[in-house]
């Protein structure tokens, strides 16, 4: 019964993808936000950045999609809180609470695995980041939507927040002795180690954001290229790869954030 449901869902998804793949093949590529009543106002916020590439413009359209993703997550959270009765005894058949439990447990076990028992307090941050990146990546695969993580400013926002969080907790756990992490093993090597560590820490912001940005933009470009050349059935390959990459990239982002936090708050054994 449940199996037939999933077969029907996947079949209809494939049919929808095949039928709507010709939408990718339009001249400019169309996005659903064009039909919004306030599209003029929304697209007037573009501030191109000629020094960097085109995708790093200050643009309100990916922010609009990010708002959509946030609203979706809020609606799902409200459903999980007020509509679903979570049972203590697991049920034999499909219970929609299982999906929410799955997502929460995945992030929770990941963080407690790496950070230790203190990992539970980072669940809001890591869970939010994971859900946001996952949903906005997957929404970008649907024809007519763009992944909101394909604008580097949104990724920079998340990476800067993670940077601030792990430094703050590092200072809170060790006091001023947190700076000892930046000094090398021997005191007179401190200038060398300090510069390397500072560069590493600043590079963490850049790498976290640019990795996600590059993956999402690249996959979106590949998808649009494939759909322009052969609109029928060929986009399945970049769609499948894109789906795989979506999950992997959220895992990498959350895993790396967790590892940075764990490195900052670990009590080193002497």
């Amino acid at each position: 019964m449940v199996k037939k449901f999933w077969i029907a869902v996947s079949f209809s998804c494939i049919v929808l993808v095949v039928l709507t793949s010709s939408l990718f093949a339009s001249e400019e590529g169309f996005i659903w936000a064009e039909h919004l009543p306030f599209w003029e106002w929304l697209s007037s916020f573009q501030k191109p950045n000629p020094a960097l590439i085109d995708f790093t413009t200050i643009d309100a359209v990916p922010v609009a999609y990010a708002t959509l993703v946030s609203l979706l997550i809020i609606v799902l959270a409200l459903i999980a809180r007020f509509v679903i009765q979570f049972k203590v005894i697991p049920s034999a058949t499909f219970h929609p609470g299982n999906v929410f439990e799955l997502i929460t447990e995945a992030v929770l076990y990941l963080s407690t695995d790496i950070i230790g028992p203190r990992g539970k307090q980072f669940l809001p941050l890591l869970g939010t980041v994971a859900l946001f990146i996952l949903f906005s990546n997957i929404l970008g695969l649907v024809p007519g939507f763009i992944p909101s993580t394909s604008n580097i400013n949104i990724n920079l926002g998340m990476a800067v927040v993670v940077f601030i969080v792990y430094n703050y907790w590092g200072f809170k756990a060790h006091g001023i002795g947190y700076l000892k992490h930046f000094m090398g093993p021997v005191l007179w090597l401190t200038p060398l180690y300090m510069s390397i560590e500072i560069i590493t820490n600043v590079a963490r912001i850049l790498t976290l954001s640019v990795r996600l940005f590059g993956n999402m933009t690249g996959d979106h470009l590949v998808l649009s290229m494939f759909s322009k050349i052969v609109p029928f059935l060929a986009p399945i390959a970049p769609l499948a790869l894109g789906l795989f990459v979506c999950f992997i990239q959220t895992l990498i982002f959350v895993l790396l954030s967790t590892m940075y936090i764990a490195l900052a708050i670990e009590k080193s054994e002497h």
Binding site: K47, N49, P50, A51, L52, I53, D54, F55, I58, N153, L156, V160, I164, T207, V210, R211, F213, G214, N215, T217, G218, I248, Q249, L251, I252, L255
Partner: protein, 105 residues
């Protein structure tokens, strides 16, 4: 309430990072265009060589580990996927540079 205000002030002070725009439109002569095109092709090409070699070695090591100990499949798979994504991210950085160059043509 104080915490909320403090975090809001902190976050809003970072807004200036977003607006780092530079002016400068240079007129590109044809040799500049040739150099840009060559550079953008070479960047991603050479990066792909290194990335493919590294990923090939890591997958082969993963497969050897699975062949030796088939019970450890899940743990090896997790580490393998993470390693592949981290190696691939280096290629993605080169791809971003290639994009930047292409759009300067």
């Amino acid at each position: 309430m104080k915490k909320v205000l403090l975090t809001m002030v902190f976050v809003l002070s970072l807004v200036s990072f977003c607006f780092a725009a530079e002016e400068g439109t240079a007129e590109t002569s044809s040799i500049t265009k040739a150099a840009i095109a060559l550079a953008s092709g070479l960047a991603i090409g050479i990066a792909a060589i290194g990335g493919a070699l590294g990923q090939g070695r890591s997958v082969s090591a993963g497969l050897e580990g699975i062949a030796r100990n088939p019970e450890a499949y899940n743990r090896i798979l997790t580490v393998l996927i993470i390693g592949l994504a981290l190696i691939e991210s280096l290629v993605i950085y080169a791809l971003v540079i290639s994009f930047m160059l292409i759009l300067k043509l």
